[in-house]
C-alpha cells in the first residue's frame, strides 16, 4: 500500500548527544517501514547521514549548549526525505563547511560529517542563516522501489 499523501513524522528533542542514536534508529525504522525492499546498506547509509546531521546540530549549531533539534521524515516521489533542523548559530559559509577536513571544532572532529552525508544520500541541501540556525534536507532514493505497508 502506498504511503498516504502528506503523511510525515516529526520528532523534536533537546540537543544532547544521547539522542543521536534514537534519531538515527527512528530514521532507519521509518525507511524500512515505508520501503520493505530497501537494502541493508541503504538503511546503514541513512543511519550515518542522520547521525552526522544531528551531531552537527548539537556540536556546531548549539556548541553543546541548550537547544532543540527537529527531525522530520516524509515520502516524496519514491524517495525518503529527511530534514534535520536547529535554531543554533548557523553556518557562515556552507561551501567551506562542505570541504573535507574543514571544521570549526577544536577537538577530534575531522570535518567528515558532511562528506559522509553527501556520499550516502542522493541529494543534500543545506540552508543556513548565521544566527538563526541550519536546515539540512537529505533525500534517499531506495534502489528497490517496492513500498511497505505504511
Amino acid at each position: 500500500m502506498m504511503a498516504s499523501p502528506g503523511n510525515y513524522v516529526k520528532i523534536e528533542f533537546p540537543s544532547v548527544t544521547e539522542n543521536i542514536k534514537f534519531a538515527r534508529t527512528a530514521a532507519a525504522i521509518y525507511a524500512t517501514d515505508h520501503f520493505e525492499a530497501i537494502t541493508v546498506d541503504e538503511v546503514d547509509e541513512i543511519k550515518v547521514a542522520v547521525s552526522e546531521a544531528v551531531s552537527n546540530a548539537i556540536v556546531h549549531g548549539y556548541g553543546h549548549g541548550n537547544g532543540l533539534v527537529r527531525l522530520t521524515m516524509s515520502i516524496e516521489d519514491g524517495a525518503i526525505v529527511i530534514v534535520v533542523e536547529d535554531e543554533g548559530k548557523g553556518i557562515d559559509d556552507v561551501d567551506w563547511a562542505k570541504e573535507p577536513t574543514n571544521t570549526t571544532s577544536p577537538d577530534e572532529h575531522m570535518g567528515l560529517g558532511l562528506v559522509f552525508i553527501n556520499e550516502y544520500m542522493n541529494d543534500v541541501t543545506i540552508m543556513s542563516q548565521p544566527g538563526h540556525g541550519t536546515v539540512v534536507r537529505m533525500v534517499k532514493v531506495p534502489s528497490r522501489q517496492r513500498t511497505g505497508a505504511a
Binding site: 548527544t17 546503514d44 577530534e108 567528515l112
Partner: protein
C-alpha cells in the same frame, strides 16, 4: 556501547560492543586515556570491533585520537573484526590507509 579492556604487556586490548558515535565515543576515549595514564609501559592499542555495528565520523575521530595517543608513545593502533558498514565508513574516511586491520586478536598481537 560497552568498553572492556585487558592489558597484555605493552598492549591494551579494547573490546567494543554497540554503536560508536559522538555520545558513546566519550567513555571509549576516557577508558583508553585512563589506562595509558595508569601504566607507562602501555604503548599499543588493539581495538576488537566485532561487536560494533555502527560508526560515524565522531567514532572515526575518537579512534584516530587514540591512534595519535599510541603513536605519541612510540606504539601503534590496530583494528580487528570490522563489520561491513563500519568498514565502509573506515574506507571512506581513509582510516584504513593508516590503521592496520587484522582478522583476529592473535594476528594483531603477532604483528604489533
Amino acid at each position: 556501547m560497552s568498553v572492556r579492556t585487558k592489558r597484555l604487556g605493552q598492549t591494551l586490548l579494547v573490546h567494543l560492543d554497540g554503536e560508536l558515535d559522538l555520545h558513546s565515543s566519550e567513555p571509549f576515549k576516557q577508558t583508553v586515556l585512563q589506562a595509558f595514564a595508569s601504566d607507562r609501559r602501555l604503548r599499543n592499542v588493539v581495538l576488537l570491533m566485532n561487536g560494533v555495528s555502527f560508526v560515524d565520523s565522531s567514532g572515526v575521530g575518537a579512534i584516530l585520537g587514540r591512534y595519535r595517543d599510541a603513536v605519541a608513545r612510540g606504539g601503534r593502533l590496530a583494528v580487528v573484526g570490522l563489520q561491513v558498514p563500519v568498514k565502509r565508513v573506515f574506507e571512506l574516511s581513509g582510516m584504513l590507509k593508516i590503521l592496520p586491520e587484522y582478522e583476529s586478536e592473535g594476528h594483531a598481537l603477532a604483528n604489533l
